[in-house]
């Protein structure tokens, strides 16, 4: 967990065997991304009278990304990652996707239903589906969370959030 | 200089001085007569395309305060920021409900840049924002440091200097703003060549000027008044059709260059989307007019070098002025592309 932000990263080196799949995929993705950036950058002005112009910096970043991806593809140790390392608990593997689904639904519904109602529905969904809480507990959490936040931010702080035609 | 500004503020206050308390009641009563039965029943949103704390935002909040004073309606400032103002303008022109509750506080050149920056893909044109009231004009100025090489020179002498030593005078430019267009137009109209140094905004350019890293900076009076009063800066010229009332002894670029084409003054107005019911629009026009004639508001404007004199008293006059600005810009940009 902690390692994810900035701390020294070392591969956990637990399991062995043919582990290339995912890291191979991402390294290929880096190379393609880098090439894509570079190709589009060459369509901009690269150099003008006084030196580097609009396209120069993106081209540079594209080249760096592509070549770093390539170097990892070719030379990085085979101690790469396996699905089992990435998702140690398959029974909970769907939870992150439920979180993303909740956020996407929120972004869709907020302009229509307003912040308060959307927040209530999404929280209900998240607590009920992700943590499999009972209905009454989920209802309590979601009404408290959406109600309190609306009270603090919309009424106390006066933030503009999407509102339903009828007030909040 | 400070005396001069204060004097102007006082003059304005005197001019509007007849607006006594009893007069305010009169204005309110007149306004109430125009009020449609079903409008407004909820707060009115002033949409600003730039972040809180900026010049546009400050102007909108000030106007909102006096709008509330005369109409008795609550005003909420909403900052719809993004895409160099394009997001907010697009919202106002195409997404906001034309029910009169959404009013944009906009500036003609940024509206026009909003269309231009989309490179032909814009879903709206400046005419889709219908003016309801003129707010104020600002004046773009060129300034020099009182410690720099150009400290003793007038605008015409600076042009002569630029001619004598082409490509040496360092002028600040803020890309895609009036400051860039102004610098370019001085070059073409004056037949000179400068080093145009790109900055991200007026403040960094001002700092660079004070630090002696550039020779000329383009700024608005509100941005540098403190330094001007401290004697660190001198104003070369203003980029308006006429001299600024607050700075009567500063020439315009047109005077110095012998032309009439240079006018890069911010022109701020209030606008609504198309198809707002006529009665509501009329009420908004009257309410803005009442607010913008308030002597206290005009004095606030004057303190920051903003000209709020009601030269464009009707929305038709405002629309005509926006068209005039648009026409001047079309001419400028067609030459620019050709070049």
């Amino acid at each position: 967990m902690k390692a994810a932000i900035i701390a020294p990263v070392q591969s956990s080196g637990k399991s062995g065997g043919g582990r290339r799949g995912l890291a191979l995929g991402i390294n290929i993705a880096w190379v393609l991304l880098g090439i894509w950036i570079s190709v589009l950058a060459t369509k901009l002005t690269l150099w003008d009278a006084s030196g580097p112009s609009t396209g120069f910096l993106p081209l540079l970043t594209g080249i760096i990304i592509a070549s770093c991806g390539l170097s990892m593809l070719l030379w990085s140790p085979r101690a790469n990652l396996q699905l089992k390392d990435l998702w140690p608990t398959p029974n909970r593997a769907l939870r992150p996707f439920a979180v993303v689904f909740g956020l996407v639904a929120m972004a869709w519904l907020m302009p229509v239903l307003g912040f308060l109602v959307t927040a209530f529905l999404i929280t209900l969904f998240l607590v009920r589906v992700v943590y499999l809480e009972r209905w009454h507990w989920s209802l309590l959490v979601s009404s408290l969370a959406s109600g309190t936040l609306t009270a603090i931010f919309v009424y106390a702080f006066g933030i503009q959030l999407p509102r339903l035609a009828l007030g909040t | 200089m400070r005396k001069c500004i204060a004097g102007f503020a006082m003059l304005l206050a005197l001019a509007g001085g007849s607006a006594s308390a009893q007069n305010v009641d009169q204005v309110r009563a007149n306004l109430a007569k125009l009020k449609p039965a079903d409008f407004p029943t909820q707060p009115i949103e002033f949409v600003v395309m730039f972040p809180a704390g900026g010049g546009m935002d400050n102007t909108a909040r000030l106007v909102g305060k006096y709008f509330e004073k005369y109409s008795g309606q609550r005003v909420i400032n909403v900052n719809r920021v993004g895409g160099a103002g394009v997001v907010g303008h697009t919202y106002l022109a195409t997404q906001a409900k034309p029910d009169g509750y959404t009013v944009g506080i906009v500036e003609a050149n940024t509206v026009l840049d909003g269309v231009r920056l989309q490179e032909g893909k814009s879903t709206w044109q400046h005419g889709d924002l219908e003016p309801v009231a003129f707010v104020n004009t600002d004046s773009t100025t060129w300034i020099v440091s009182t410690e720099g090489n150009l400290k003793n020179k007038t605008m015409s002498e600076v042009i002569a200097e630029m001619k004598a030593k082409p490509g040496t005078i360092r002028v600040a430019s803020v890309t895609n703003t009036m400051l860039e267009y102004l610098a370019e137009q001085v070059e073409t109209e004056g037949g000179v060549r400068t080093i145009k140094v790109p900055f991200q905004g007026g403040s960094p350019a001002l700092a660079a000027l004070l630090g002696g890293h550039i020779d000329v900076s383009g700024n608005f009076l509100a941005e540098y008044r403190g330094h001007l009063e401290a004697g660190k800066l001198k104003i070369l010229a203003v980029a308006g059709d006429e001299r600024m009332p607050a700075l009567a002894n500063v020439p315009t670029f047109n005077e110095a260059l012998g032309t009439n084409k240079i006018n890069w003054s911010p022109f701020r107005y209030a606008a609504v989307p198309k198809n707002v019911p006529a009665a509501r629009k009329r009420y908004l026009e009257a309410a803005f007019d009442a607010a913008l004639r308030d002597p206290e508001l005009l004095a606030e404007f004057a303190k920051n070098g903003l000209d709020g004199r009601r030269k464009y008293a009707t929305s038709a006059l405002v629309a005509a002025e926006v068209e005039r600005v648009a026409k001047g810009r079309v001419e400028f940009f067609s030459k620019r592309v050709a070049k």
Partner: protein
């Protein structure tokens, strides 16, 4: 000495009940804003700006600046306890602060964060009081050329701040710079990678990226791991750091104060850069760099000192020049202009009550925050002692509110979700995300100042060595680069000889 007349008069201004009340209010709001992830000081200040219209200039500036440095105090709390930075300047505090919390030393970490903030804040205020006019003149000497060398130094430090495989770090830095190039090129005005989207003309919003990479992806990782709240079940323990902690921390605090102050004064710098650079510096200077990331108290004390000192430092260009050195200061400037006060060289002589009143309030606010934070830390912790199944929907809702309310633009929420997914994948694959953010901030500054300099010199790079300040910084950068590269090669050799102990990915 003038000073002995001015500062007491400043205190006389602040020590009135109303001004003290606004100072306290600002400190409380600031701490709250800092503690709550998903609401940074920038968003909070822009939200509260309308509240200040009814206040006097002194009151509003006292309150707004208290919110700013109050958030620096509060930001460390969530970093240490939950490993979620309450605001961007506390990102590095997560590393060692949270590691300490995991070892059961959350108390000393929180205590040291507050005390370091207090000491640095007070020290920086002293420097601010004494040197204000002189330092402002120095800051003016920094033009495009000096900026460029400063940014080069920034990137040199960034590259060597990260550990792990070099290609991964370079990709993150390059990706950060690339993301920053999306939108309008501020030099030529051309559009880059906008694909006809009007939302992209101004580029991505920093808040949306940070919320996605650090807020949403964090939640995604947590929900699949933690069944119940792990973070807050630990005991905080006593707050006061031990004698050994002080022995480890006094030098980082002093260095952090100096570094933070300087970075605060320089336009473009600020608390975020200050905390990152302080952490990098402490790790490089440490005789035991391997302890960093494992709960070294220096890694908390240095950055926390630096971000607080940066707040005081950034008051200098604002009050003496009227120039905001970062976004938050731009908001404070806006607040003053609304009040009809134009900050500038004249402020000190024209409105001495405002100038010295605000400086005096900085001293008082720091005392208030220390008192608020140490005894009241229990209260803030209570906020966090909520089970994760309750906390995570709230964090998500806060991220949506925080992201949306900066610009009132739903597009930013979509950007946040997108970066949440990207951040989740990258963290799974053990990429470090902090360098990406730093590159995103520094990249455009480097590009802008580099191109400005070259416009000034008509394309000749010699200009970077003509200015003494720039030449010095460039030489320092080159020296660091060589030193770091040498150190890296050497450590790479020793690593090959004896592989490091493997660490459990929690």
């Amino acid at each position: 000495m003038e000073l002995f007349n001015n500062l007491p008069s400043g205190f006389a201004v602040v020590l009135t009940p109303t001004n003290l009340l606004y100072c306290l209010l600002g400190s409380l709001i600031g701490t709250l804003v800092g503690v709550l992830p998903g609401l940074g000081p920038l968003a909070a200040l822009s939200l509260l700006l309308p509240l200040t219209f009814k206040l006097s200039p002194v009151e509003s500036l006292v309150m707004l600046s208290a919110i700013f440095y109050g958030s620096m105090y509060g930001g460390s709390t969530t970093s240490i306890l939950v490993n979620i930075p309450g605001e961007a300047a506390s990102v590095v505090t997560c590393l060692d602060g949270h590691a300490m919390a995991k070892q059961g030393r959350a108390g000393p970490a929180l205590g040291m964060a507050a005390l370091a903030s207090f000491i640095a804040g007070t020290l920086a205020n002293l420097i601010l009081t004494i040197m204000s006019p002189g330092l402002a003149a120095l800051a003016l000497k920094f033009g495009p050329v000096e900026y460029t060398s400063l940014m080069v130094l920034g990137f040199v430090t960034t590259i060597f701040m990260v550990n792990g495989p070099a290609p991964k770090a370079l990709i993150m830095i390059a990706a950060g710079i690339f993301l920053a190039t999306i939108g309008t090129d501020h030099v030529s005005g051309a559009l880059r990678y906008t694909f006809g989207s009007q939302n992209l003309i101004g580029g991505f919003d920093l808040v949306a990226i940070v919320m996605g990479l650090f807020g949403v992806s964090e939640v995604m990782l947590n929900v699949e791991k933690i069944a119940r709240s792990e973070i807050v079940s630990k005991k905080i323990g006593r707050l006061l750091p031990s004698l050994q902690d002080w022995r480890d921390s006094w030098a980082p605090i002093l260095r952090g104060s100096g570094l933070g102050f300087i970075l605060g004064v320089l336009p473009g710098g600020g608390p975020v850069t200050a905390s990152f650079l302080s952490y990098a510096a402490e790790r490089r200077l440490s005789r035991t760099p391997e302890r960093f990331g494992q709960g070294a108290i220096e890694g908390v004390a240095g950055p926390e000192a630096a971000n607080n000192a940066a707040v005081s430092g950034s008051m200098i260009p604002l009050l003496s020049l009227g120039l905001p050195s970062n976004g938050i200061m731009a908001l404070l400037l806006g607040a003053l202009i609304i009040q009809g006060v134009q900050p500038g060289p004249m402020l000190m002589t024209q409105k001495p009550d405002l100038f010295w009143g605000v400086i005096a309030s900085l001293y008082i606010g720091n005392v208030m925050l220390l008192l608020l934070n140490l005894p009241l830390i229990g209260l803030w912790i209570q906020l966090l002692r909520i089970p994760y199944k309750v906390l995570f929907p709230v964090i998500l809702l806060l991220s949506v509110i925080g992201t949306y309310s900066v610009n009132n633009n739903l597009f930013d929420v979509w950007v946040m979700i997108g970066f949440g997914v990207i951040g989740y994948i990258l963290r799974k694959l053990e990429y470090e995300l902090a360098p990406l953010i730093l590159a995103y901030v520094l990249g455009p500054l480097l590009e802008q100042s580099l191109r400005q300099s070259l416009v000034l010199s008509s394309g000749s790079p010699v200009i970077f060595f003509k200015s003494p300040i720039s030449a010095t910084i460039m030489l320092v950068s080159a020296g660091l680069l060589i030193y770091f590269a040498y150190g890296r090669i050497r450590s790479a050799r020793s690593v090959n000889a004896a592989p490091p102990p493997t660490k459990e990915a929690s």
